[in-house]
Symmetry: C2
Subunit: 358 residues, 2 copies
């Protein structure tokens, strides 16, 4: 069941489609600070991955995790995961500022790493991870859930590649998020040094999608801005951010993220993506079709042939996770290249650096 009230616990489930035999891809979970760890684990398990161990310093979080995945063994020392040669990959959703260092530690132990977005909060962390990947040949995978774990977003990529809208020239993304009750949020959520800023955090999804849909391997930040419009009690929170990018191939992106989603909406955020091409456009209403349908995964395709509305819930699946597992085992880069991940990370950090504070 998809959790509708809160993006932090968004952990979709899809159809199982195993790409490995039992026992072939054993992985563990470490640092469960963000609820996305459940989405990461679900995806890997549906693709045949075997979740065998969990570590987190907080026993309550471990207990909740074990309740969800009873087969998993809790360990009280992270070395029991890091030093277990049968474990191929560590999935994690640490506090954002700790994701880079944790990933480097995992890779230094010869394992691949799969972290929640945003992958880094500083350029230094990014540089270090690039170095460790290069030296160890291990992988730093990132869970950009808003494209990889949303069926209409997966289908949009397929349609673009198939030429349904001609050459994509702009990706416009809106990522409103619900704040909910701030007292239910962890402390780090409001600490700038820990979450990295709104463009670095939830903006990372946007940049990843822009690069992916426009097939760009590079881009520059033309402009960015951040604000705290409505949360004076949390001075380090940015509740609004936007940025516009110019891709190396001439396509552009505009991306707006915020924590202003009103309580009356039937889900945690009316996330939209519009991909404009020379021969048509695609609009994604990802989590709701506002005032019409409570379900998500609505894809609207308009091109020279006409207007179409596709309701894609349950119809597309999530090929990313199986591809990730195969990439890990086969040394391929089908799911996502390391260059793509690091370019995304760099751009969201640069956007945050140049952002005008309103």
């Amino acid at each position: 069941m998809v959790q509708k009230a809160d993006g932090m616990t968004y952990a979709p489930k899809g159809k199982a489609n195993h790409v490995v035999r039992p026992g072939e891809f054993r992985f563990a979970a470490m640092h469960l600070d963000h609820g996305h760890i459940y989405g990461e684990c679900n995806g890997l398990m549906e693709a045949g991955g075997e979740l065998v161990a969990v570590y987190d310093p907080d026993p309550a979080r471990v207990a909740q995790f074990i309740a969800t995945y009873p087969q998993v063994k809790a360990v009280d020392d992270p070395r029991r995961i890091l030093e277990d040669p049968s474990i191929r990959l560590v999935a994690a959703a640490a506090v954002p500022s700790e994701r880079g260092p944790l990933g480097c530690r995992v890779m230094e132990h010869g394992k691949d790493y799969f972290t929640d977005k945003t992958p880094f909060t500083t350029l230094e962390q990014l540089a270090k991870a690039r170095e460790v990947v290069s030296r160890t040949k291990r992988r730093y995978f990132v869970y950009f859930s808003e494209r990889l774990h949303v069926e209409c977003a997966v289908e949009a990529g397929r349609l673009i590649t198939a030429g349904a809208i001609g050459r994509p020239v702009q990706v416009l993304g809106l990522g409103p998020h619900r704040m909910g009750d701030p007292s239910k949020r962890p402390k780090w959520f409001f600490e700038r040094a820990k979450y990295g800023g709104i463009l670095c955090d939830i903006g990372s999804h946007q940049i990843e999608r822009f690069l992916s849909y426009t097939n760009n391997t590079s881009a520059t930040i033309q402009a960015a801005k951040v604000a705290n419009y409505h949360h004076p009690d949390f001075p380090e929170l940015e509740d609004f951010g936007d940025m516009t990018l110019i891709g190396g191939n001439g396509a552009t992106g505009y991306h707006r993220v915020d924590w202003l989603n009103p309580r009356g909406l039937g889900t945690w955020g009316d996330g939209r993506t519009i991909i404009l091409g020379t021969e048509g456009y695609i609009e994604l209403r990802k989590y709701i079709n506002v005032a019409a349908e409570r379900t998500g995964d609505h894809l609207f395709l308009v091109n020279h042939e006409g207007e179409q509305h596709h309701d894609l819930t349950g119809k597309i699946g999530f090929p990313f996770f199986g591809q990730l597992i195969r990439d890990s085992l086969d040394s391929t880069e089908t799911a996502m290249t390391q260059a793509h991940i690091f370019t995304t990370a760099e751009l969201c950090l640069l956007a945050q650096q140049v952002a005008v504070k309103l």
Copy 2:
């Protein structure tokens, strides 16, 4: 009937709501280069204005105009309009680069002027018009049809003022337009010096709406870009443009315009506006509810109370035109201040100047 195929002939009709007695507000039409002249005249006539004369150097355009408004007298010398003391205002839709000079000539003759957008193509024209308005005390009104002549856009302004979404912090506008058959377009449409650039031309609607909805009297252009992605046969055409603004009060705007609307859409452009507030948001699907309803004027309001969809065709009307007539007669500034018009004009010219060419 609203023309659905082509934005250039968009000339809505509303309910008659006279603000003057017969004969009290006589006006004429001059220079019919853009089809918006029909929307301008419809609006003024529905508010009680009396369309008495028309001048255009092209007899075919005059014949078409007379066929639409049989009561109107065609004159073959513009002085017969300019020097007629019974005519209070001249409505016009000249080639964009001629709109400013024509307006100054009209005002120098003691009449108010009502031009299609965009009001100017150079900052020099703008400076001159400011000077003439200041000296003659006449008015330079502009037909920003995408807010003033769209019922859902009028209602959005009312809802914002009533506090339905809290403090408005961002206006996001998408203005895709259909090119249609280029051979049916006038030559000036493809000449940069005459149409002024895409941000100056159709972008002017966007800036006007941003200033209006956010209640800003000033703004800066943070970034802008223009491109010709898909029309190599027309090297001076810009078929894509975008810009992001920072208002004096801290609210921001992002605006994208293009000539890439695919043929399969049921209308000339899937124009959208999203106004994000601290307590909710409004989305306008102005000319179509894509793949759902062929009609326009759809307003979606989401705030803490819930989600609403209002179909506003025929329900709101167009108060601007009656206000314009009263402003002209009473020396008020209810419809729109001259400062607002000139600030809009200046910003769209500046956006065009700073735009990065992709």
